[in-house]
Subunit: 155 residues, 2 copies
DNA sequence: AGTGAAAGTGGATGTGG
DNA sequence: CCACATCCACTTTCACT
């Protein structure tokens, strides 16, 4: 199945709308309208257009993990015995809530995870759990002591 | 400055509210109310309480980078000549829009980046730019071929 | 594409249980 | 901590430009 080029031309007004809502998805449309200088109805139409073009894929409430006691974030590179084990292992990883991201990567590892734990003890338990998965030969982990940048694609 | 333990007790209703809004921050409060079985006013009060407790740190419109032509995501580990160069280098990294995340890490690297580029050529240019930063001695990069999991902390 | 207004719905708040 | 009722603001749609 061949797809057309998915890139979509958006103008300066679209950019302003997106930039505002990327910072706060609950900003009232009328406030956006005042900011960009067109009517609320026009903003509404543009948002529908952007959604239809799949440029907007939703909105999320952002929770602060630290307030829930999750203070240890880490990256984990995993080596598998066989490349072919990947689908099965990934299915298992999806069931582990501490795993926030899972990437297939080039380079050293088969997959690369971003995980979130309450503390170092919790992370140790998680590492043990990951290493016990059948088909996992080795893991390498890197604790994130501090995250200085966290943002989306620049519009 | 010593801080009290920031963990906060949230009950099952709070969890249901958060889970719904984490999937779609624009879900009407009244719909949440119907779902959890209490009034809209009560949901509103709980949300204010959760915000005051810093458990909610905002909401974001999620844009789909692929629809904008950004199809190459990668991780980059960076080595610095001196640890002390970090603040200066991080300041420069903040000005590079392709850098979406920047983590101080234990282990191999001084910092670890998540970047987003349009394609491999674009990534190459970015790597050159990063390597040209004064104080950067070496970089290692891992292209994410596919991301299978992307979520927030489990409530 | 954008405007303006109309109609419906949801958000915010205070009083009371 | 929650329900109910109120008021105001916002969303959504439509006819027109």
């Amino acid at each position: 199945m061949r797809r057309k080029p998915k890139t979509f031309t958006i103008d300066g007004i679209d950019k302003k709308i997106l930039r505002m809502l990327m910072e706060d998805a609950r900003t009232p449309i009328l406030e956006v309208a005042r900011h960009v200088g067109i009517s609320g109805a026009a903003i509404h139409q543009r948002l529908r257009k952007l959604e239809k073009a799949k440029l907007i894929s939703g909105s999320k409430l952002i929770v602060n993990p630290e307030a829930l006691g999750f203070t240890t974030s880490a990256f984990i590179g995993m080596y598998f015995d066989k490349e072919g084990d990947a689908p099965t292992i990934i299915k298992l990883l999806k069931r582990i809530p501490e795993v926030l991201e899972c990437h297939y990567t080039t380079g050293h590892w088969n997959v690369f995870l971003k995980v979130l734990c309450k503390n170092n003890d919790h992370l140790m338990l998680l590492l043990n759990k990951l290493q016990d998965i059948t088909g996992v030969s080795r893991t390498e982990s890197f604790i994130s002591l501090n995250q200085d940048i966290d943002r989306q694609v620049k519009i």
